[in-house]
């Protein structure tokens, strides 16, 4: 087992490398030492009487300030038949307050060199801000102004609706966007996770009254699922806590949101052929439901995903790009929500090779359960997952996002410490077992192909004809 190091020891271990050599060594000089992340305890971690949790982490090595404020709900708080309301509210939240017009607010934020935005995902509505530490006080003041007094001017709503309709047109020109949208809307049909983007029908009917009401109900109110304020940066945690407590402690906590987060995704195999006449390539996306954020077999599945499509030396890339020359790149990933998740893989290939590329992609994915995995291959995936965890989570925004993700899913701040420890202890048999426990690939996977349907359809004769459905984007 590789030796796990803490930060303080890292430099000393660098010294174990070779000294200058007279001839070029024929064998790569590697070290078995692994730098493991170390997670410290937040300076402040407490929950206010109204259910808002404050988690503050002081970090003085950068002159920066990052914060996020999450309210449980997000797209799951959208009223029935009004899919996209939370997303639109997020886009409009920073378009003016009782004191400032849209341009005045934008000038105030950007004049600080800061950013302030809002978003809505399947389970949470969020605000996100960042600035140099010297501007953190003013940025927080602007956030407070938005949270308490976003004004949703009627003209800004009208402009946003027109703008979003045009932007939707532009996004629909992207083949991979169409593929992912179809995948999410199919696998998560009827679930908040299926709100991949806005749609024209909603935009045509949305009113200012429902926007204002939704903000008051789903954002300015702490629901039973709670709310979370997290910040990281060069600040005094006690002083920041006092200020944030004053700001957020006033939020009512009346509840009443009818959330639909726990929704069962579809495991019915389907093949959607999204017609894009004359397309130079086909975008192929495949996906299947998997367990949620805290799933007991999460680590094993994450490693299985890493082995399949985690990078240029993994099975999908090597087979489809390097051996067969079918694509510029083939990757996979896992998107996780609280109660469910989605494993997906994607690539683009030339139209005449669509069938072959899809067949190979499915074969590689099936191969994990059928052919197993070698100890060396798993060791590579484990080493990469552990080692790259530090590399990929170095920036303040990444750190904050990682911590917030664990907390939003009901985990403790040390979740990622335990995750990393488990990553290094999984065996090949456990990974294969997870792959085998999943329903057979052909029986639970949704396939989306965005391409020239007339040219692609004849290449899909290896798939059951009754599963294939042609759709227009």
């Amino acid at each position: 087992m590789k030796k796990l190091l803490i930060l303080a020891a890292a430099l000393a271990l660098v010294a174990c490398g070779a000294a200058a050599q007279a001839t070029f060594p024929e064998v790569p000089p590697t070290s078995d030492d692994v730098v493991a992340p170390r997670f410290a305890v937040p300076s402040v971690d407490r929950t206010l009487p109204n259910g808002v949790r404050l988690v503050l982490l002081e970090e003085h090595s950068l002159p920066t300030f990052d914060f996020a404020f999450y309210v449980a709900g997000g797209d799951a708080a959208d009223p029935a038949g009004r899919r996209g309301l939370g997303t639109l509210v997020a886009k409009l939240a920073t378009e003016g307050t009782a004191r400032r017009t849209s341009v005045q607010l934008a000038s105030a934020v950007e004049g600080l060199g800061a950013s302030l935005s809002a978003s809505s995902d399947a389970e949470w509505f969020g605000f996100h801000g960042r600035s140099l530490a010297s501007a953190s006080g003013e940025l927080l003041g602007l956030f407070a102004e938005v949270l308490s007094g976003a004004s949703f001017p009627a003209d800004e709503l009208a402009k946003a609706v027109d703008r979003e309709k045009q932007a939707l047109k532009a996004r629909r020109a992207q083949p991979m966007y169409l593929g992912l949208r179809a995948l999410y809307e199919t696998v998560f049909a009827g679930c908040p996770q299926g709100t991949f983007d806005l749609d024209e029908a909603f935009l045509d009917t949305v009113t200012r009254d429902e926007v204002v009401a939704h903000y008051a109900r789903a954002v300015q109110n702490v629901p039973p699922g709670g709310a979370l304020f997290v910040a990281l940066g060069d600040f005094d945690a006690a002083a920041l806590a006092a200020r944030v407590e004053t700001l957020l402690g006033r939020l009512p906590h009346e509840g009443g949101l009818g959330l639909t987060v726990r929704c069962t995704p579809s495991t019915t195999p389907q093949v959607l052929l999204v017609d894009r006449p004359g397309s130079a390539q086909s975008a192929i996306v495949v996906g299947r439901p998997v367990g949620g954020f805290s799933d007991a077999r999460r680590v094993e599945l994450d490693l299985a995903d890493e082995v399949l499509g985690g990078g240029p030396s993994r099975r999908l890339f090597v087979r489809l790009r390097e051996e067969l020359g079918l694509t510029y790149g083939a990757y996979s990933n896992v998107q996780r929500y609280q109660a469910s998740g989605l494993w997906s893989a994607a690539l683009s290939t030339r139209t005449e090779k669509t069938g072959e590329a899809l067949s190979e992609l499915l074969a590689v994915a099936r191969g994990l359960a059928e052919k197993g995995i070698g100890a060396d291959e798993l060791a590579v995936a484990e080493s990469y997952s552990v080692g790259s965890f530090v590399l990929h989570n170095a920036a303040p925004g990444q750190v904050l996002s990682l911590l917030a993700e664990a907390l939003r899913n009901g985990e403790a701040p040390d979740f990622w410490t335990r995750y990393i420890q488990r990553l290094g202890a999984v065996t090949p048999a456990e990974v294969v077992q997870v792959a085998r426990e999943l329903a057979p690939f052909d029986e639970a996977t949704t396939v989306v192909i965005v391409g020239d349907a007339k040219a692609v359809r004849p290449q899909l004769d290896f798939l059951p004809a009754d599963r294939i459905r042609e759709v227009t984007p």
Binding site: L7, S61, G111, G113, A173, G311, S388
Partner: protein, 431 residues
């Protein structure tokens, strides 16, 4: 606190970068830049070869980018794709990018694996496997990349056509990725000759940034790179850009696009020119964020556009100041008139002190966050060494921007962004 994950600041009290840099040259000409910082146990490695698409002849079109792929196909002690697998099995990331001016190969490694990264870079510098088999394989891959990034993407062809319209010099006018015809017609002899000319120590800069011991790292660099023959790269020829003869325009039909677009480009001085900070401020005032003048005018006020952007390309030779607008059908004339009007206002009245401060503050924040990554810091040092001949100029970036005055911005707009000097590419929605 995730203390290990938060990288150091390298910022002075005033908020400006203050990176300690050591620079030396090996006897074979390899330029080495060291920026040690022990606060986080990772190292960013950047190896910049001073060769880009500008250095290609017509029959070499696309070669600099082709080598971005060929460099991962193996060398004397490293098998095909093993450059990736050796690094990934030790938790490291690796990639590369090619521009008109340069090619930059980079790794981000946990500190104990720096030796491995250096060995891998040295092995392919000294013994890259430029074989017919690898060439054939990568020709296919690049063609697939071409389809994915240009043939099957909205506005992909516009990205190819705009430089052709904007530059009089072929060196900057042809696409980095090359053309299908040239790529398919090339020979192994041509490819080998290109590699032998340019991918040599005397034409490269190696940057380490992060947690390493200076003496040990230098020992590895000398051991692995020191005996590679220096080579003699042809050297990059300065690019002469003819003065714009007047407005240049073209229209193309894009079957992938769902909205029409306008790509506007003005020829401006190189990145290292003294006028560049004022032009950067101008780009930010026009195009940054929701308070940018063009966003407010085109998107919010006139409501004729969905997306607007203003930016400098960042070329070592004659650069481009670009404005890109994705607009509503039938709104092209209105967009052109509005952009012209906004530029007239800057030429006539300049920008406000508040706009100047906003641009400076935005730049300061972006730089602070960018330099929080060891990899990005290594890349930036390599680029500043290339652009300015001195990596420490990165430390001066904010001082340059803070020295810009309202009058400088107005003068830059007046001098470089004349209405009759623009290259204008209109994209129409095709069937």
């Amino acid at each position: 606190m995730l203390s290990i994950l938060v990288l150091s600041a390298w910022l002075a009290a005033a908020g400006d970068p203050s990176i300690a840099v050591e620079r030396l040259t090996l006897p074979n000409g390899l330029d080495v830049i060291l920026a040690p910082d022990s606060r986080v146990p990772t190292v960013g490695v950047a190896l910049l070869y001073r060769v880009g698409s500008r250095d290609e002849t017509a029959e070499q079109e696309g070669f600099a980018h082709l080598f971005e792929h060929m460099m991962f196909q193996g060398s004397a002690h490293v098998g095909k794709m093993e450059h990736f697998s050796w690094l990934e099995r030790h938790g490291a990331d690796v990639n590369a990018f090619t521009t008109e001016d340069l090619t930059l190969y980079h790794e981000q490694v946990p500190a104990p694996q720096l030796q491995l990264a250096l060995w891998l870079e040295a092995d392919r510098m000294r013994s890259l496997a430029v074989t017919p088999e690898n060439l054939r394989n990568q020709q296919d891959t690049v063609l697939e990349e071409m389809r994915q990034r240009y043939d099957n993407q909205p506005y992909g062809q516009a990205r190819v056509e705009l430089p052709r319209l904007a530059y009089s010099s072929w060196a900057y006018a042809h696409p980095v990725i090359g053309t299908k015809e040239r790529l398919q017609a090339t020979t192994i002899d041509l490819v080998r000759a290109f590699h032998a000319s340019w991918y040599v120590p005397s034409n490269a800069t190696l940057v380490l940034s992060g947690s390493f011991d200076r003496e040990q790292a230098l020992g590895w660099i000398r051991a692995y790179f020191g005996d590679i023959p220096a080579g003699k790269a042809p050297g990059q020829v300065p690019i002469a850009q003819a003065a714009p003869a007047g407005p240049r325009g073209a229209t193309l039909t894009d079957k992938n696009a769902k909205l029409p677009a306008l790509f506007l480009a003005w020829n401006v001085p190189p990145t290292s020119a003294p006028e560049r900070p004022a032009l950067e401020v101008l780009a930010r005032v026009l195009g940054d964020g929701k308070s940018g003048r063009l966003f407010q005018r085109l998107v919010k006020s006139d409501q004729v556009a969905v997306h607007v952007d203003a930016a400098l390309e960042g070329r070592a030779g004659p650069d481009l100041f670009q404005v890109t607008v994705m607009h509503a059908p039938g709104a092209r004339a209105a967009v052109l008139a509005a952009v012209a009007d906004e530029l007239d206002k800057v030429r006539r009245d300049g920008v406000t002190p508040e706009e100047l401060t906003r641009a400076q503050n935005q730049a300061a924040t972006e730089l602070a966050y960018m330099l929080s990554s060891n990899l990005e810091r290594a890349q930036m040092l390599a680029l500043y060494a290339y652009w300015y001949g001195d990596p420490q100029k990165l430390n001066d970036e904010m001082a340059w921007l803070r020295a810009v005055t309202v009058a400088d911005v107005r003068a830059a707009a007046e001098r470089f962004l004349a209405t009759d000097a623009v290259a204008r590419l209109a994209v129409e929605v095709g069937e």
